[in-house]
Symmetry: C2
DNA sequence: TATTGTTATACTCTATAACTATA
DNA sequence: TATAGTTATAGAGTATAACAATA
């Protein structure tokens, strides 16, 4: 089965962009709604994810990464620390800096959340044929390439 | 070329769910960052999109659709009306109800925003082969089916 | 003197409660 | 009496400005 011939190459890429954008954003929104509601704000959740993916970093780096101002990150990390989801690690020579790292509880929470959303999505896969699932499998790395830089 | 055989059917659907979720959310986030910054809040932008897709509706319906309380929607629509992006249409028998509709300027703003993001995505397509683009074309309706209900 | 993070304070967005107008 | 929407007020999150500690 070939997908290449389902669509003439002359089809405007902007139309493809539009249809992919709409479908993808719709599913992304639906997937977001499946998030565990642990009373965490989007920023707090994003911080946990960042710390998980990139490891401990200073408060300033974290603020830059999440595109918020340092005072906001002070509050955000304070709230996370109060719930035991992050820890302050003083591993720097520069004693002005504050290193923030994800805690075991934070990791657990993240994994539960991901597991839950994966389970929801996997459940939705049941209505697909194995060919269609294979198609999704092939598309994931393409999405990554599109997202890069 | 067959995608169906690229992956044994025994592959855990949860793994596929995870890889698709991560890739898709990443691209969705990237796409969101390409939005025009017109100083609109996410809710305001969502309201414009809803009014465009579903037409004019009462303030209460709009609040329910966006999952906010009526007083919040009063503020949101007031802000949009002040900028001329929505209009109040009194087309109801029941004079308590307030119908909100998108204005010409609101439509223009929405279209500019979509055009901009489509252009960004279409630009990214240039690094793909036509086979790969065809793959994305085939996948869009699958994403829609996954998002349904 | 410059830099990292915190505290003080204000603004925005949303919520609940009380109110007005209409049914 | 019930309903649609608004106004009053409070809470949460983020911003800027001023400050403290360290380099």
């Amino acid at each position: 089965m070939s997908y290449a011939n389902d669509m003439p190459t002359t089809t405007a890429t902007s139309e493809l962009a539009s249809e992919l954008r709409v479908s993808m954003m719709r599913l992304a929104r639906r997937l977001r709604s499946e998030r565990l509601d642990e009373g965490l704000t989007p920023t707090q959740l994003a911080v946990l994810g960042t710390l998980d993916r990139h490891g401990a970093m200073t408060l300033g780096e974290l603020a830059a990464h999440e595109k918020v101002q340092p005072p906001s990150m002070t509050r955000t990390t304070a709230a996370l620390e109060e719930r035991g989801l992050v820890t302050r690690v003083s591993q720097s020579m520069d004693r002005r800096q504050v290193f923030i790292g994800i805690s075991r509880d934070g990791l657990t929470l993240l994994r539960e959340d991901r597991k839950r959303r994966d389970a929801w999505l996997a459940g939705r896969f049941e209505q697909l044929t194995s060919d269609e699932r294979a198609l999704l499998h092939a598309v994931a790395p393409l999405l990554d390439r599109l997202a890069q830089a």
